[in-house]
Symmetry: C2
Subunit: 194 residues, 2 copies
């Protein structure tokens, strides 16, 4: 059931967040929007930050969707898939910060404190990159000593273009051509050695 009370609270929270920004939305406001007392919200979420974390997590799942699609597209060669995956990650973040700055601020405020939600998200990102890399190894594109290490390295190298703190700094105005040349060199470097 998609319209559980939990989901309705989350929807209302997103609504408030979008309208008034993260600084000015409290659990009282969310409760008022749903015509209930704020104490009832606490029946479903342990705390305000737990509520916000849940919003951020749901948002992150949406962000992941197009990436997962690329990862699963086994018929295109791994190097090309890797480039597309990284480009899409950067594009998605950039799009979000431009289209929906309020929500991006929430995401930013969640990532600022090194939360468990973010750790899980990063773990998922590493997993996806690892899967593409593994496919590349099987197909003979690369021979890596550490898949996991290489995946982390790729995310580190491209973070300039997808880390929220960076995307926010240059207001989504980073040059994706520069990311393109970066991933080209990395893919080339991987093909040569581990």
């Amino acid at each position: 059931m998609s319209n559980s009370i939990r989901d309705r609270i989350l929807d209302a929270t997103v609504e408030q967040l979008r309208r008034h920004g993260p600084a000015k939305t409290g659990v009282v406001d969310v409760a008022r929007a749903l015509d209930m007392s704020h104490s009832n919200v606490y029946k479903h979420f342990a705390s305000k930050s737990a509520l916000f974390d849940a919003v951020a997590e749901r948002w992150l799942v949406q962000v992941m969707a197009p990436l997962t699609k690329i990862t699963a597209d086994k018929k295109t060669p791994a190097p090309k898939r890797l480039k597309a995956w990284v480009r899409t990650l950067a594009e998605v973040k950039r799009k979000k910060v431009l289209d929906d700055p309020e929500m991006f601020a929430v995401y930013g405020s969640v990532t600022a404190d090194a939360h468990e939600v973010v750790a899980r998200h990063i773990a998922r990102l590493i997993d996806e990159v690892s899967e593409i890399l593994r496919d590349g190894v099987k197909a003979g594109d690369w021979s890596l000593k550490s898949i996991d290490g290489a995946a982390k390295m790729i995310l580190n190298a491209s973070s300039r273009f997808h880390h929220p703190a960076m995307v926010q700094l240059d207001g989504g105005g980073s040059d994706l051509k520069e990311l393109e040349s970066l991933t080209d060199v990395i893919v080339a470097g991987l093909q040569v050695r581990g």
Copy 2:
């Protein structure tokens, strides 16, 4: 003359900054420390932010010193020099954020607003990397279509480990081994193609 009134004001500003942090140092405090009226400080610096910018710039020049040394060390091969240069950049930033958090906060507040000072600093960084790359091209280590583009790419890729916003986020606790493997792959990638 190193003890011009301008320098003495800058020294006093650094002193105040270090003692009381950037939020609580005003030009009146600086003036008081020098036994002069605050209006006289304005004879030498157009505004408080101009004063702080000058402090940040002087600090950035100090940061650059060990890098410039590496760049000038023409007898070691370019690839090795490039790796050492990037590692040193990250180390220097990491050291500063750990040893001197007050000053790092000043630097951070300066970099936050996209200031001219930072633009100049980045331009200098690009110049240094470009010089090493050019040496590598001459020695036959690489053949690059765009030296400048490659330099920017290298700084982008390593920004995770030296950009103030990132260094501050993980409190200088980033793993320099990961940077090592990153530069290895990039250098390998450059050797293969442009």
